[in-house]
Symmetry: C2
Subunit: 206 residues, 2 copies
DNA sequence: ATAATAAGTCAGCAAGCGTTTACTTCTAGC
DNA sequence: GCTAGAAGTAAACGCTTGCTGACTTATTAT
């Protein structure tokens, strides 16, 4: 059993509490949106006092920005190491909820993508998001073997919009059969989508 | 000029005030989300007192539900009269902001679609949304000349997710070139998208 | 062991929220 | 013209929000 193992785990660990807060905040911001999420709920779920949010992140917006920054590096890292043909398969696998784990709602990639679509009203945070999405669409264009002219960029962004829309519908509405679709069901449609928008025999055959 | 025309326009018109409130609320709910929108802002922008929202719609949630119901009939009506091939063209035209009008932000279809993605936390209102999206995806499947098995339904919902994602990115982030793309730029990518997901030579050629 | 400091808690603030109640002003029917 | 009732307003209500300052408790170094 897991009762009273060997790990000491200091009862007061600032770095760990910071991470706990980030973890809870990311999930709640992603699922409920910025305005609907309260700092008290975050603190309660993390098991710490509200005041620590102000201490570690200055403000609610500071915490949100920290979540977004983390999400950006997370999502960015996930796109570094993909080959040319396997994009759809990887995407399908990583979008279907928690391939290995038992817990139903623990998927950092999904929550990170959701965060990209949530807004706090602060224009400077939105700039962050914009810059990252722009960069991401360029990376997608390149990874699919395209040049990055305006037309291709537009198509890459439509692909991103599709993925974001799928994640949003799956996690906030629960519409069927989309929400229950697993890796196997998602792979082929995603492949078709990518091929149609950015595939080799796609948009250039005019 | 339009100064002091012939129309009398009673200074007190309950039905008209109700419509004004609905109009403002729809826009603000769609753009800022449910939690970030306050009844006072809505009332101020509509030029009436806050108490009237409670009178005409019982509560903030009542107003939101009324907006959503309107949006559902709006979006639903827009999909009734489309032929088989022109779907992409129509979609491109109606998604690009206000084809005819001068005003920049007046597009009922866009706001209606956005509302489908905004949630108030009330599960019964979410049911409304789910049912409509389900019906809409079935209609899309049929309009594209498909049967409505689970696989096709999934693909229709992915298409809907793509459209919703595009609308969301265009109106809340302003990422380029997606946000500035007009009818002409959107038509072909949308056509490719639809064809790949639900087209005749698409998903059945296994 | 003890002092210094980091980590965490507590209680309360000012402001904003959705909602309601009592009131005023306009409109329509006689 | 007068009046009943509809349409709209003003002000306050109880509550929640994000945030803060004074306080307590654990940790670490000497």
């Amino acid at each position: 059993m897991t009762t009273s193992g060997a790990l000491p785990r200091r009862r007061r660990d600032a770095a760990q509490t910071r991470l706990d807060l980030l973890d809870v905040a990311r999930r709640r911001f992603a699922h409920d949106g910025y305005a609907a999420t309260t700092v008290r709920h975050i603190a309660d779920e993390a098991g710490v006092n509200v005041a620590l949010i102000s201490r570690y992140f200055t403000s609610k917006e500071g915490l949100f920005q920290a979540c977004l920054t983390d999400a950006v590096t997370d999502v960015g890292r996930g796109t570094d190491d993909l080959g040319h043909g396997e994009i759809a398969a990887r995407l399908a696998r990583r979008l279907s909820d928690t391939p290995g784990k038992i817990e139903p709602g623990e998927n950092r990639l999904r929550d990170g993508l959701l965060l990209l679509v949530r807004t706090s009203g602060d224009e400077r945070i939105d700039d962050l998001r914009r810059d990252f999405l722009r960069a991401l669409s360029e990376k997608v264009a390149v990874k699919t073997g395209n040049t990055i002219d305006e037309s291709t960029l537009l198509r890459a962004q439509i692909l991103l919009a599709a993925v974001l829309g799928m994640v949003l519908l799956r996690s906030t509405l629960g519409i069927q059969p989309l929400s229950a679709a697993g890796e196997d069901e998602l792979r082929q449609p995603l492949a078709d989508l990518i091929d149609a928008l950015l595939g080799t025999r796609g948009h250039d055959r005019r």
